[in-house]
């Protein structure tokens, strides 16, 4: 357990190791979760927060084993409910740094209702959506993010469902921070984790994660050196949308239609400049969702796609309590018990 009992007293700077527990990590060798765990531990150390002020909450799934490996407070709860539990925790302990870890099944299948309501309420917490497009823990059934036609244990003849576009769904639900990263780009993942952490509100970070046992290579197009430059675009606020080998390509908007331009012939001037705060553009960006085929396919966007500053639910909740107290005065139990009409019997 608390091997780092003295850690986090602020005096000595913490390292990723200080956030590792004494439990052996039980993911399959080669699982993308290992890399994510490592980046999260590193980022935790970098935030300088004390381990006791951090809470990881998860549902059920391979991803959901995460809290057991973090030397913080944690709860490995039940399938799909982590966000509902986090809502209650945040309501009463707003000062805590709360992280929810959830798989694509946990978060988008059984947990879908809590997801959309969490996004609308905007508690200040970080939601890490480990998307491996499969149910890992239950040994490989298709998930709400699996491409249709997916052949799995439960769909030997191919799945029929049109998958969710998790980021479009999150935008539609009113999410205030929408971002995407991947297990195999540690630097980008750490940077994006920091941005999620800094955002005041519910930060949804979708992380492409390879399940090498039941869905190996689902994202290789976006993670492999060979295809990555062509198939991905890394967004930076205020920067033009450029990608490809030595950034030779860019994206501009022709009306509402994004088009790929070759920067050799065209200039950079009329390129689309990324604006994290533009919801309409964010909708167009989350629409870059076609599976990569050739250089005419729009690249998959990574980084912060949308960001909006609006009030946090727990702040409003606490403010309301304060308001009522200042208007009615702190509650007096005896007056409450007495009520409005009472009488004596002698």
């Amino acid at each position: 357990m608390a091997t780092t009992a003295i850690a986090g007293n602020g005096t000595n700077k913490l390292t990723a190791k200080d956030f590792a527990t004494d439990q052996d990590v039980r993911w399959c060798p080669g699982c993308g979760d290992y890399s994510i765990l490592k980046q999260v531990q590193t980022v935790m150390a970098e935030t300088g927060k004390s381990p006791e002020d951090i809470v990881f909450i998860s549902g059920i799934g391979c991803a959901a084993r995460f809290p057991y490996y973090m030397e913080t407070y944690g709860m490995h709860s039940i399938h799909g409910r982590a966000l509902a539990i986090a809502a209650g925790l945040k309501s009463v302990r707003k000062e805590l740094s709360v992280w929810v870890v959830s798989g694509d099944g946990d978060c988008l299948s059984i947990g879908g209702n809590h997801l959309i309501h969490a996004l609308r309420r905007n508690f200040n917490l970080n939601l890490l959506l480990f998307n491996n497009e499969i149910y890992g823990l239950t040994k490989g059934q298709y998930s709400p993010t699996s491409p249709s036609g997916k052949v799995t244990g439960s769909t030997p003849y191919g799945s029929l469902d049109a998958p969710f576009n998790p980021l479009s769904l999150s935008l539609g639900a009113g999410g205030s921070f929408i971002a995407r990263s991947m297990d195999r780009d540690p630097i980008h993942l750490r940077a994006t984790l920091h941005k999620a952490n800094e955002h005041q509100g519910t930060s949804l970070l979708e992380i492409y994660q390879n399940c090498n046992v039941f869905n190996d290579g689902a994202f290789f197009t976006y993670t492999d050196k060979a295809t990555k430059v062509q198939s991905t675009i890394f967004l930076e606020h205020g920067e033009p949308l450029v990608f490809g080998d030595d950034k030779s390509k860019g994206i501009k908007l022709d009306g509402f239609t994004p088009v790929i331009v070759d920067l050799k012939d065209a200039g950079k001037d009329d390129l689309w400049i990324h604006n994290e705060n533009d919801k309409i553009k964010a909708n167009i960006l989350t629409g870059f969702f076609e599976h990569y085929q050739d250089e005419n396919t729009l690249p998959r966007p990574f980084g912060v796609i949308y960001k909006e500053d609006r009030s946090r639910y727990e702040d409003l909740m606490n403010a309301q309590v304060e308001d009522v107290i200042s208007s009615k005065g702190k509650g007096d139990l005896d007056l409450l018990l007495k009520g409005t009409t009472s009488w004596k019997i002698e």
Partner: protein
């Protein structure tokens, strides 16, 4: 001429729009203020407002008051106030033969009669179909308008005070002062002088009508009841649970968090608690019942007093998360205000059919304490006890109430906060620097209770979850012996509580005898009344009423052994009966009523008579 009476049951009935609930409420406080004991039960129309004048739209308020102790709103009514034909038709069956009917004539015009589905041409207050009763026809509407003719009000507005006329008249009959209601009207309409004066005028008109009304010569006197000295107020069941929760928060020093999703008849508890934010109470209307209980679990994990509440269908949805709370071993209170089932069933009617669900409605061996309330005011103590057990024993606790208790009200001798029990959370103490021995979240005290380490406590970081855990460390464990050990520890922890709570006491009757009536929940009043009467008649009948449904009190078997027969009345098909028989190997018998309405004392008496 005046007649003394020990107790009187009045049913005010009329259209949803007639202000029946307010009228009943006013009579209740007025009676209470002069020291009567009293018990009330409002009877709303089923969920959706039905069209005016129809049977479905009838709203009723039944109250029983007396110079003796009152335990129920009454089996039968002495007086039925019917504001319209539907109100009479819907409630005549509850009026005792020879009882008084006060009928508002203009509520019996052809339109109202048709809506009430009286066959063409029939009019109960004209033909003498009501000859078995004392019928008093009063043209309330006409006289109300009369009383307000100079007020310059419109007719519609005038008619709104109809109920005050009836109230004034009934005050006259039972010899009551008008002051309480006048005060009430003064504050209620402080800013609306015209309305204030109108209502007061009509109230007085009704009173004076009594003095002048030829037909009505008798007045009744109901003296004060021998209630214990003290300060009283009137309270309903859900109100009392709300106050109990707020109190428990203060007594334990924990912030109260109530996560809930609206559902009849539990919603008013959410409404009640939402009012008390100045006690630091946080209420959260979740997206569904699963989120509601999970938010409460999260709040408890954070160190608050996490509470959730619902009724049957919503409780069913909480089953999985309840299991999580059991294996986590964190404090949590789940309030179930029971209603008629199965499924959506009878949302506005009362029932006790969720006992088995409370005890067994989860996967795996997931034992937890179950506490039952018995009357509106008892909800306060029962709630504090539920919270105490949850917090001091680190366990989810189910508190069972029902629609009858939730909406009924009675005088409550409210306590001083200083007289309330204390609740002491088993908090862990943060690590001092350097101390290196690992923290063991599932290490237990003598009562098998683990202690409570909250996020933010230095050096106590730990992970808890729904998988079986290793003893003490709480690490995930698939070890067979550990699983059996932990399963028995969780059971043992709950069983242990039986040793620590007070023994079962006898509510009434001899310690040995012919029949023991073992009750639980809202059957209390009917059983109490029945036993009181039968003891007076010299029968050997006793009454014990369970608060601790699980674990059952340690001395229960010895009590059961003292009687020839054990009778268990329940508003279900015999759930406690099944448990008692299974546990104590005695041939107890059940009395079961599944009509969505409470037992009458007579139903209990008749059954006991069979057993003697």
């Amino acid at each position: 001429m005046e007649t003394k009476l020990n107790e009187v049951t009045i049913l005010f009935a009329g259209d949803s729009g007639d202000g029946i609930q307010l009228t009943g409420g006013q009579f209740t406080t007025t009676a209470a203020l002069v020291g009567n004991d009293i018990s009330t039960f409002p009877n709303f129309p089923a969920e959706i407002r039905a069209p005016q004048g129809t049977l479905a739209g009838v709203s009723g308020f039944q109250l029983k008051f007396g110079s003796v102790n009152i335990y129920t709103p009454g089996d039968e009514c002495d007086v039925l106030v019917a504001m319209n034909a539907a109100a009479l038709k819907a409630n005549l069956n509850t009026l005792k033969k020879g009882g008084i009917i006060i009928a508002n004539e203009s509520g019996f015009d052809s339109k109202n009669l048709r809506l009430a589905k009286y066959e063409e041409g029939a009019n109960p207050i004209e033909d003498n179909s009501l000859q078995d009763y004392l019928l008093y026809k009063v043209d309330v509407t006409k006289m109300t308008r009369e009383a307000l003719k100079d007020s310059g009000m419109g007719q519609k507005e005038m008619d709104r005070s109809k109920n005050m006329f009836v109230l004034g008249f009934v005050y006259w009959i039972y010899n009551r002062k008008l002051d309480n209601t006048i005060d009430f009207l003064n504050t209620k309409f402080a800013k609306k002088t015209d309305l204030k004066e109108a209502n007061i005028a009509v109230l007085k008109a009704g009173y004076h009508f009594g003095e002048t009304y030829e037909a009505f010569r008798v007045r009744y006197e109901v003296g004060p009841a021998p209630l214990p000295k003290g300060s009283y107020r009137s309270i309903s069941g859900n109100q009392a649970i709300g106050l109990g929760l707020v109190a428990a928060g203060q007594l334990s020093g924990l912030d109260l968090f109530y996560g809930s999703y609206p559902i009849t008849p539990a919603s008013s508890l959410l409404h009640e608690l939402a009012k008390h934010k100045n006690f630091g109470v946080k209420t959260f209307q979740a997206e569904d019942e699963i989120a509601a209980i999970c938010s409460a679990i999260g709040a408890s994990f954070g160190g608050a007093l996490g509470v959730t509440g619902s009724s049957g269908p919503g409780i069913a949805l909480k089953g999985e998360a309840l299991g999580l709370a059991v294996i986590l071993e964190i404090p949590l209170v789940i309030v179930n205000v029971q209603r008629g089932g199965p499924s959506t069933g009878l949302p506005t009617k009362t029932e006790q059919a969720d006992l088995m669900q409370a005890i067994y409605g989860r996967n795996g061996e997931a034992p937890l304490p179950v506490i039952a309330t018995k009357t509106p005011s008892d909800c306060f103590d029962a709630t504090i006890e539920a919270c105490r057990i949850a917090v001091e024993h680190m366990t989810p606790v189910i508190l069972l109430s029902d629609g009858y208790i939730a909406n009924g009200s009675e005088p409550w001798r409210y306590p001083k906060s200083s007289d309330l029990p204390s609740i002491s959370p088993k908090m862990a103490s943060p690590k001092t620097n350097g101390s290196e021995e690992p923290y063991l979240p599932y290490k237990r005290n003598a009562d098998l209770v683990r202690n409570w380490a909250l996020p933010g406590m230095k050096g106590l970081q730990h992970r808890i979850g729904g998988l079986e855990k290793e003893d003490e460390t709480g690490n995930v464990s698939y070890d067979p012996d550990n699983h059996e050990f932990m399963t028995k520890i969780r059971q043992g922890k709950v069983d242990k509580i039986a040793e620590l709570v007070p023994n079962q006491y006898m509510d009434n009757g001899p310690d040995k005898g012919d029949v023991l009536i073992l009750g639980w929940g809202s059957t209390y009043g009917a059983i109490k009344t029945a036993v009181r009467d039968m003891l007076a008649e010299g029968h050997s009948v006793a009454h014990a009423h369970l608060r601790y449904m699980n674990p059952l009190p340690g001395n229960l078997d010895s009590i059961l052994a003292n009687y020839k027969r054990v009778l268990i009345p329940e508003m279900n098909m015999g759930q406690l009966l099944q448990i008692i028989r299974g546990r104590y190997h005695i041939d107890a018998v059940g009395l079961n009523k599944i009509k969505g309405i409470p037992f009458t004392a007579n139903e209990i008496k008749n059954k006991v008579a069979e057993l003697i």
